[in-house]
Symmetry: D2
Subunit: 454 residues, 4 copies
């Protein structure tokens, strides 16, 4: 009974990570690690550990029945621990006494969530890495390719497409770096017992916790984090941030792939982005998925943050809501990263069309540059007025801004001596503008390398 | 690969309504209805309709493969229509030409969503109805049962538990009424063709749409609503509102079920609300589920509202995000309604403990009432000062407020003639206060009946 | 200390409605109405009412000091009632006893919020009405003006600009209608006394409430709504819905005003939408403001809905958070409506450019129409394949789709007899397509009139 | 026209930081720094810098008029730069040419926002520091004070109040640490010119940017961050996280301050937390404000994250929405921190009542501890069943769990030899349990010190 549209907007792999089998297996991994560590510490008999761990295999359990029983029990751990205990008892009645010993429901559930989240992060990082490689390549290849810079959705000036790509890249690279930094702080073993003190584990509690953390590949903390979710939330926030950054790329691609702009197109493949009614269409489906994620992720984070006020030593409703909201954020992010990784792996860049779109602006996008050259002579205010007037003439259809400015310069004895025809040509050169912007590409990449994010 | 915690917090039935099989069947219902209506209108051959409709059965299709193909296609409709066409062609090659004729992806998907939403609303209404019955019963039974009124989480005065129940009831009853009013406006057939004009259906388009709407039990609208989602959103908002109202009930139950308050308890049943570590616990799991829903629903609505800016004639990313967010809201609401329906069906009300909690306040909760009686003689400001002073003496442990006030009245020649011992006793009577509040129960119920909401 | 950017994105009038002076005056209006109604009912002396009402003027009070004192008091009502009582006492010590008699803080604050919200709704409706007039005009004027229909941000087919305008109009008109329907249910007098029963007002409580409601122009309800916020929330949801609908219009305008599309432009006026650095720019500032509102409003609604779980008889933190979130939603909506009212009042529509953008698509946007004509002969699948092939040839630069299809038809003996040159020309006529879409304009307007929404 | 309820829930100081005067002064600080750095770099005449900087004083400008003009201009920078230029020209016409030279609207606005945010963070840190001091004190003082541990809002076991305080402290201390770490990455000079390349500043651009950053106390970055908002968002997320952590403390205080629990009370002061209608009330107003902030902050963050998809080189609507949402988050956080700083500075802790509440549980809260001791003999499952039965007898009113267990042990020959009366007494000792929990206090504090967060 998978949700149809979650799957439409993500990958099966991402969904499976948080699915029944994977999650219950992670819970069983916790129980096995607990048994081993407790036996090593002498808390439970040495023979109990293999007896318990030996049946900690999701495929032995009727997962559907366990999940179905969770609602009434008020916890997923209760029916699982019950079934696990019964299963252990089939083989070793004595060992069955020690199942889940000293732990509480929240210990096994939070730890399992940390374990599957770790896998989700690895998958996410893989796709983000692919995106970074593609964008670094585009940034180099198109370092000096002129393209319109657009502000407030209007043609503004001329930049380089490589710089656009580098600016797309920077936040993704920084988020990869941030996620790597955060993970060891956020992905911690949960082991507190009923109310956070590990009381039921006796004097060996910390040793047990340390062994379990090592065994499960999670971080050991001296104290439980049952109702202190700040470290956990930092991870969620960063995932939402990367969704936002992916969404920005997707929006730019969608805008540049519009029929009237046509500077970019997503790679075509059999059936990819076609329309059921319109045979000519090639829809930017990678951008579509990433935009959907960027729309959705902020609301997941706000739901998660709203769950932080967990009462006393375990919350009523808020902890459970957090559990239910958590997976969606990661699945959504994975969908976006994976979709853009494909879209960017073979992005069609039409440099010729980029240039045509610049030319179609009749020089208006060099107005500021012209203004600066004139301002050197007349001051900023007068230059702005002069260029604004010339721009209006362009809009009225009187020709290219370069020609109009040239005539103004020739006609004005204050300007003629200082501004040559060559000066003017240079101001209106898309290539010069792109080269200037291209130099910034190097800066962006250098800055990322300095940070260790690339 | 169902999400574990969605299921934990809702019901299988609710999840199934939006699941693969149910959703794809709803899409096939659309295609069958389209074929029949188009044949009736002479747009497609008469024989094509049964040929198409005859295979519009979800069990004939490899749902998993279809959903898996949807991502690359950029739409769930494309692979389904393709498979449906192939399946029809197995039996009737000519009819296969007319599958999905004149419709677009969004037509079939939006219509399917309306169909399954209709079922979800029926289920939701069933549970809300149960809640209304339970609460009306409690309101009657405990019309005059004294209980603390609490403001800002502090004991305030004395009200009746029946009034609490009636106030819990009112918003639920109003939401049931609102959902019934809204449904025919929100649950509309989507049929617009590629860009909303039904162009490909020819001159019979409206007739076809009307027949389809009738056949599917949805509302006919003259125009498509591809990118006009206001009517659709009103439904989502109302569902979120009912989640908020359920959450308020749940919060009050949780507060009144605290060990130190102990005025209410959820019904106990085998294993319901037990703890894996603490054998004595009986957790209010119905309140837990409803509180989780109340936490989550607002973020779903905000996600859905954020999807409204769908570009031009079909959105890129926002329509798709809306689809993915929609089910969660209804599933969450259903979980809450169902959980509270159980919790309220046999709510344990401890009237004795309610009374003890009033008594433990040493009369302080009658301070305003006392203040009013005294204010009739001394004015409001002086009375407030006098009662505040007396209250401080109660807090300091000098006895019950009634006794202290009585002594003050006796000692003050301005007060003695106007305020008798009987007056004072009446002021401090929990029964009187509850009876007064009980009268409001009738008002609440009358108001709901007038509205037709009960 | 107004927030700079709230003002940037809204109007002073909207901000003032929820400002200190306006809000405190509304509180004083409540106190005056309470005094009059209580005197009429014989609850307080006849002379007290004019003595109280006479000083219920915001300009008599140090608003800054009152707001400053509210934090510590935990309520805005406490310092205001205190100051009001002192002020009344200056003139009539006896009357001062009866200030705020029988009411609680929440009564005066919620009622004041309803009063100022009523004014905000009137302002909002004024601007929505202007938008409806403008859009109805555009829908009529451009009923048959061809323009590209675009789906998933790609050119799809040809529609009419009038239909676009009509589709923009419909949700706005429906929301105006919905707001008018909702207002009397949502804008209710709040009068419950300390815990909702009007206990302190005695047997005349309902008569007093009715008089107050009439006097203040609010709806009377039999019971208070201190912690039942559903009716209140419906209003907020509808305002967010209209923000979403305004945002959709704004997004379409922004997309159509892009330099490369250039089909629309916002009206120019001195300094409107200019750039500090680029003299040639004319930014779509109306769309900018409305898009900002559409981004923000959903989060306000989700904040408001999150406040619904108000504990017991008055919430701790949630009621207060609701108060603080409320104004922002209405101010934001007003900003959007006002900005689009200006932008649409004199929208520049470039029908010539719309036509050029269609022509630039080399007939591809008529592919579905061509497909249908051919499908009548060959069936849908074969037609789709044929047209897809022809479309690919257009994309490869082999000419206009009409010419390619014509040649295919001539070359194919199955097609030649059934499809004439005239048939083909008709399929590729932008005028025909627009006229067909134009007919839907009439349907949209008729549907709105039937609803009473226009 | 300040918003009444923002002020109610925050401090004037916090609101002022983002107010007109402060924000415009920060913009002028940017212009002054730009002028100085540009003069030093030889880009503008040496004399222009003091001429410009000399009038960069907010008190010289009609702020109201400038903000009023911002809406139509589509930017706050445009009217300010215009007025600044005019003002400079009054004294030095030549210098006026160089005002804002090479910068764009977004440069000055984003930089100003970074500057005022820096101040807001300092204020926030001050209050968080006070909270940390208070909580560290409480953690030490009540290290071994027994108090109920409560899970799912039900009495669970016995912990120490010092541990509660330490657990409240840990996330606040970590957030202080995180905010200090993040600030230099997030608070960056914005200087990119029209489209992010600093083109108009010429070859000295980076030198100018470095000087400006140093002068303004912000971080220098090699490239602009006009539409790369990830670093900026991390700060917002962390502020929302600290709101969540403050909200958790506030919720616990509110729950423990309930009349029926009465373990904690906020400090009383004249008028603090009183009620307009009920003279005996002392409302937890600090908790109220912090809970309001915890409710609101997540929605601000989600609004901010929703603004990340800024189009091309400057967004239309999303950048502007971000500006308008930003202040609210910080103002809200400041309100919460300040309110809790006061509430915790002199929190009334009633250790006697804490003990009474434990005793009222008739030993049930030691059920798990008893279960463990018995499990050592009988195994976990049998022990659980035995203790569950005994617990039921307690609930049925048959006495204290200790007595019942004692009798069971005496009656059971398997248990008698292994479990002494002393063993049982120890299990049921609140002091032992609190001491055990108290040891964890040291762990929490040690962990924070290790991190450098305390």
């Amino acid at each position: 009974v998978a949700d149809v549209f979650e799957r439409f907007l993500s990958t099966s792999d991402a969904i499976d990570v948080f699915g029944e089998r994977s999650f219950v297996q992670a819970m069983l991994d916790f129980e096995a690690a607990l048994a081993h560590a407790s036996a090593d510490a002498g808390l439970i008999p040495v023979t109990a550990a293999p007896a318990i761990a030996g049946v900690c295999k999701a495929e032995l359990f009727d997962l559907d029945a366990i999940v179905a029983a969770s609602g009434n029990a008020g916890s997923l751990a209760i029916p699982l621990v019950k079934k696990l205990t019964e299963t252990v008892a089939l083989f070793n009645a004595d060992a069955a006494r020690y199942v889940h010993w000293g732990a509480t429901s929240q210990d096994v559930i939070d730890t399992a969530m940390a374990l599957v989240t770790q896998r989700a992060l690895t998958m996410l990082d893989d796709d983000l890495a692919k995106i970074c490689v593609s964008l670094t390549g585009i940034a180099h290849t198109h370092r000096d390719t002129p393209v319109l810079a657009r502000t407030l959705m209007q043609a503004a000036q001329v930049t380089s497409f490589g710089l656009k790509a580098a600016q797309w890249l920077a936040p993704i690279a920084r988020s990869r770096w941030a996620l790597r930094e955060l993970a060891p702080h956020s992905l911690c073993l949960q082991l507190g017992g009923a109310f956070g003190t590990r009381a039921a584990l006796g004097p060996q509690a910390d040793v047990i916790a340390q062994k379990m953390a090592t065994c499960l590949g999670l971080t050991y903390t001296r104290t439980a984090w049952h109702t202190q979710r700040d470290r956990w939330m930092r991870l969620a926030c960063e995932v939402a941030i990367v969704c936002g950054s992916l969404g920005k790329i997707a929006t730019d691609i969608a805008l540049m792939a519009q029929s009237e702009v046509a500077e970019l197109a997503e790679p075509s493949a059999d059936g990819r982005g076609s329309s059921s009614a319109m045979p000519h269409k090639r829809n930017p489906v990678g951008a579509m998925v990433a935009r959907a994620a960027a729309l959705r992720a902020p609301h997941r984070v706000s739901a998660l943050l709203s769950c932080m006020g967990q009462e006393h030593e375990r919350g009523l409703g808020n902890w459970q809501a957090e559990l239910a909201e958590w997976a969606g954020l990661f699945v959504t992010a994975q969908g976006a990263a994976s979709a853009l990784a494909v879209a960017l792996s073979d992005l069609n860049v039409d440099a010729k069309r980029m240039r045509e779109n610049i030319d179609a602006q009749s020089g208006l996008v060099f107005a500021e540059a012209a203004s600066i050259v004139i301002a050197n002579v007349l001051g900023k205010a007068a230059a702005h007025t002069l260029v604004e007037g010339a721009s209006r003439r362009v809009i009225a259809g009187e020709g290219h801004l370069r020609a109009i400015i040239r005539n103004v310069v020739i006609a004005d004895p204050k300007l003629t001596p200082s501004i040559s025809a060559e000066n003017i040509d240079n101001v209106f050169s898309a290539e010069s503008a792109a080269r200037f912007a291209g130099a910034t590409v190097d800066d962006v990449l250098a800055e990322l390398q300095m940070l260790g994010a690339l």
